[in-house]
């Protein structure tokens, strides 16, 4: 291990160290505020160390991990998202005695999950991929079911956790089987070596190779909640505590997608028609299915779950542009990265509002549509931010979501992917309906007798304010003047 390699690994080492530190502290001094601040501090240090690691990038650290600018950018994204989730978690868990039970494990597992995400985006070998995946996944099993033991945990939290555990376990098994088949066929687990074997696209039509790739894609599609592997998504989103849902929605999907991009770019899997055809079908099904299923949902977290299915479908359209041979992978990488940033900001923003509202109601997550009725007249700024986030999800200009959608359109047209674009337009039009329905709820006059604690004024604490402010400002700033972010992304996209 040279010094350069250690510097490159610094962000991951800091996150590991801080999770151990939090664990030690929790044994002796387990005040919530201390643990939360320590975690935030650790993440801040890790973010700063990225600047150091950039100087030595790109560098291969063991055959498993490749720290290049791509990996560092996505590590930064994962760390930032994790920091926002920790900010939101403080008040969420503080707001009720019962939620503060054993909160230490929450932060430890969250940090481990962040570490898993960072490993995933730096993976250049299937072993690292699996390590990262399991670090992320196993931590999430507990994070999703976190409220189950408490009296107010409601059975949905337990149901969500068990569902996620079993289904995710099956998906991981499928992934392992796929990786094993690929190893049996090609004798290597490293992406670059696989790429050399796959120079001739014909080689992927053999039984082991095709089955291996198919199982791999099935497992990845599960994690990305693409149709038809999406069944776990609404229940898990609904049952998990709001900060965990935010984490699952952003980091879990973003890291896996980054891996997918790196895998396809490095191994040249874009050239295989069969794979890309399958992905195209999955994309169309996700765009249409995700939007259609959300139309009649009364539960806000389920709406966001189905909309995230659709959004990953939109992202696949940009992703598949590389398969046509008309668009270079760096352009695809640029579009995917921008869209993921937009998706992260928007999703975290929407969940931030849900968390903040749930803080005021210590009993349950504020996830019914009816809870949002008249929100604008009670808490105008909060409702405005939520409206902006929803309009961004719908792809309305002035928001970063529109620029992301514009990127997807551009790539779709350059790749001449007309069917995918048609599904994109139809899906977006359908999607508008449930976003508008939610927005309208907020502006309706509140009913005269409204029981429940969401009827009063909404109190937002400092961490919540900060998170909402940063997210809202990013949403508008990047939506109106994206060139700085675009320039940053363009420096990372040489895969």
């Amino acid at each position: 291990m040279t010094i350069e390699q250690l510097v490159a690994l610094l962000p991951m080492m800091i996150v590991t160290a801080i999770s151990v530190v939090v664990m030690m502290f929790s044994a002796f001094v387990s005040t919530h505020r201390l643990l939360n601040s320590l975690s935030l501090l650790g993440l801040a240090l890790a973010l700063l160390s990225l600047l150091l690691a950039v100087k030595v990038a790109p560098i291969q650290v063991t055959p498993l991990i490749l720290i290049d600018r791509f990996a560092l950018f996505y590590s930064g994204l994962v760390l930032a998202a994790g920091a926002v989730v920790i900010l939101l978690s403080y008040d969420y868990f503080e707001s009720s005695e019962e939620r503060t039970i054993r909160v230490a494990e929450y932060y430890i597992l969250l940090l481990v999950a962040i570490l898993g995400g960072m490993v995933l985006v730096s993976a250049s070998h299937f072993a690292a991929f699996f390590i990262g995946l399991e670090l992320l996944g196993v931590s999430l099993y507990v994070l999703v079911a976190y409220l189950a033991p408490t009296r107010l945990g409601r059975l949905t939290s337990l149901e969500a956790g068990v569902k996620y555990l079993i289904l995710s376990g099956v998906a991981s098994a499928l992934l392992l089987f796929g990786i094993a088949l690929l190893y049996a066929e090609f004798g290597t687990l490293s992406f670059i070596e696989l790429g050399r074997h796959w120079q001739n696209p014909e080689v992927l039509n053999g039984l082991f190779a095709a089955a291996g790739i198919g199982l791999l894609l099935a497992g990845v599609a599960f994690k990305l909640s693409l149709v038809p592997f999406h069944m776990w998504t609404p229940d898990v989103y609904e049952g998990a505590p709001a900060p965990s849902t935010a984490f699952v929605a952003t980091v879990s999907k973003g890291a896996i997608f980054a891996f997918l991009l790196r895998f396809f770019a490095t191994t040249g899997a874009f050239e295989n028609e069969m794979i890309c055809y399958a992905l195209a079908l999955i994309a169309i099904a996700s765009m249409l299915g995700g939007n259609l299923l959300a139309l009649l949902q009364p539960n806000v977290k389920r709406i966001l779950a189905y909309s995230s299915i659709a959004h990953i479908g939109y992202l696949l359209v940009a992703f598949l542009a590389a398969s046509t041979g008309k668009v270079g992978t760096d352009l695809v990488s640029e579009a995917v990265s921008f869209y993921l940033v937009a998706y992260f900001v928007t999703t975290l923003g929407a969940f931030a509002v849900i968390c903040v509202l749930s803080n005021n109601d210590g009993q349950r997550d504020v996830d019914q549509l009816a809870d949002y009725r008249g929100l604008f007249w009670r808490a105008p700024w909060l409702a405005s931010i939520l409206t902006a986030m929803l309009l961004s999800l719908a792809g309305i200009p002035l928001t970063v979501g529109f620029i992301g959608k514009f990127y997807v359109f551009t790539l779709g047209i350059e790749g001449l992917l007309w069917w995918l674009l048609a599904a994109l337009i139809v899906g977006s039009a359908i999607g508008l309906y449930y976003y508008l329905r939610w927005i309208v709820q907020m502006f309706m006059q509140p009913e005269s007798q409204h029981e429940g604690t969401t009827g009063g004024a909404v109190i937002i604490s400092l961490p919540g304010y900060f998170a909402l402010l940063v997210l809202a400002v990013s949403l508008f700033w990047l939506g109106v003047y994206p060139p700085p972010l675009i320039n940053l992304i363009q420096t990372i996209t040489s895969l």
Binding site: L391, A394, I396, P397, L398, F402, I403, F406, F409, T410, I413, E414, L421, I425, S428, A429, L432, Y433, L436, R437, V440, F443, Y481, P482, P483, I486, Q490
Partner: protein, 488 residues
């Protein structure tokens, strides 16, 4: 810079209006009027300071600004104003004042937020009329939707949520088609010339023939025809117009519909000349269908606002017909119809709002014999009804006449059917007068007459209508200098 200031003033005015109401320091209605008057004064003083260049075809653009924005895609921030855009912006500001006046006593709750949305819609519309970078145009096209959606959804009438969502989805979905065409156009231009640009000036040069150009033109066409609205994409309009509050209806009918026609003139026709000529017969037939269908269905309505909404469809059918005639009379007629219809439909919707405010119903079966209790209202509405049906001496006649002359030169048979619209127009116009003002009172016995504020508002519109009807030449000259650049 004057264009940027124009939009900024409207944005800021909206914010100030909301704040004024929020901290109880002022009346948002007066803030709105002041904002619109300041913007109009600034624009007028700027154009008059340019001297006589408006009427001479020497200068192409009265004002312009061009700043790089997202250079990765060749997107710039380009605003420019020619004669056509100037007229549209003046119409916007004028009808903005009318809208505020018409809902003076109607908006009781959250008045500040209402005027905020109103001014922001107008700012978006001004942006649409002056944007000449395709991306920026799309930007403003979508942005003008959101405040309008809120106006309908919050202050509208009984079925407002349905109407607002329908309005939004129709416009957004068609807008996405336009975005698709737009990006494809830029991409093809890039393939042909190696230049990546969303600027109208750059894209105007490249010629496109053949099947791809037709589909691209169709994408733009559908987006604008939904807004126009043309049958069969018109179904959002009756609901949106009926359920919107008075100011919302005035803005919708007076200005928002004109953005569709403006889009056709500015973008669809010049960017795809060959495809448009090929498509012209279909478009003209769609125009005629709108004329006749709109008029026929209007006749069957009992809700007075819904009736006026269908007459809007009918009048905008004339615009579509005139534009696709591809001769000078057709264009002049179309633009004149846009201006005239803006006046008359705004006035009629203001009247409908006034009636609803007084007797709390829009159902004409409950009205009758109002002339005796409200003679001034009756006279004014009679004036605008006669204007709407195309009486010579008033602005609508100039527009419809020129459209029919132009269309006859292009395709005589289609024009024959269009003339039927001239017969149907008096039917629905006089129906309104007959049902509401003449005859026996049915449910509501009496109605308060127009107040001096309402007479002021109507009087202004009457003056413009008569002025345009008797002396349209200046306006036509302004328009022709604008159309020259686009090669029309």
């Amino acid at each position: 810079m004057v264009l940027v200031w124009l939009i900024l003033i409207l944005f800021l005015g909206g914010v100030i209006a909301w704040m004024a109401d929020h901290i109880k320091l002022g009346d948002p209605r007066w803030v709105a009027i002041a904002t619109l008057l300041i913007a109009a004064l600034m624009l007028l003083s700027y154009t008059f300071s340019l001297g006589a260049t408006i009427s001479i075809g020497g200068q192409d653009w009265l004002a312009s600004i061009k700043v790089p924005w997202i250079s990765r895609f060749g997107i710039q921030f380009i605003l420019a104003m020619d004669g056509l855009a100037l007229l549209m912006v003046l119409l916007t500001l004028f009808l903005g004042v009318i809208a505020v006046l018409s809902s003076w006593s109607e908006i009781a709750e959250r008045s500040g937020f209402f005027h905020f949305n109103l001014l922001w819609t107008l700012a978006g519309v001004v942006g649409v009329f002056t944007a000449l970078d395709l991306f920026l145009f799309f930007f403003f096209w979508e942005v003008m939707l959101i405040p309008m959606y809120f106006i309908i959804a919050i202050w509208g009438h009984e079925n407002r949520i349905y109407a607002a969502i329908k309005f939004f989805i129709f416009t957004q979905a068609s807008g996405l088609l336009m975005l698709l065409s737009m990006v494809a156009l830029v991409y093809f231009h890039h393939q042909n010339t190696g230049q990546l640009s969303f600027s109208y000036f750059d894209l105007l040069g490249s010629s496109r023939t053949g099947a791809p150009a037709f589909w691209l033109m169709l994408g733009f066409f559908i987006a604008f025809v939904v807004k126009l609205p043309g049958v069969p994409f018109h179904t959002w309009l009756p609901d949106a117009h009926t359920q919107a509050p008075t100011a919302g209806s005035v803005i919708l009918a007076g200005i928002l519909l004109k953005t569709g026609a403006y889009g056709l003139i500015r973008f669809c026709l010049p960017l795809f000349p060959d495809a448009s000529i090929e498509f012209a017969p279909t478009a003209m037939i769609l125009g005629v269908v709108s004329i006749i269908y709109g008029a026929a269905v209007a006749f069957a309505q009992t809700d007075v606002k819904r009736l006026i909404a269908y007459t809007s469809i009918s009048h905008m059918g004339f615009v579509l017909l005139g534009l696709y005639a591809f001769n000078a009379q057709g264009y002049q007629g179309a633009v004149m119809t846009m201006l005239a219809h803006g006046m008359t439909s705004a006035a009629l919707f203001a009247f409908a709002g006034a009636v609803q405010h007084r007797i709390h119903t829009r159902d004409m079966r409950e009205m009758g014999g109002f002339w005796s209790s409200a003679p001034r209202m009756g006279a004014i509405v009679l004036f605008f009804s006669i204007a709407a049906l195309g009486m010579p001496g008033l602005a609508n006649f100039i527009g419809e006449f020129l459209v029919l002359v132009g269309a006859f030169k292009a395709n005589s048979w289609i024009t024959v059917f269009a003339v039927i619209g001239l017969v149907l127009a008096p039917v629905y116009s006089l129906l309104v007068i007959q049902r509401i003002f003449h005859g026996k009172p049915l449910v509501a016995k009496e109605i308060g007459d127009f107040s001096s504020r309402e007479i002021l508002m109507m009087g202004l519109m009457m003056l413009v209508t008569i002025g345009l009807g008797l002396y349209p030449q200046p306006v036509m000259e302004i328009v022709s200098t604008g159309l020259q650049y686009s090669g029309l």
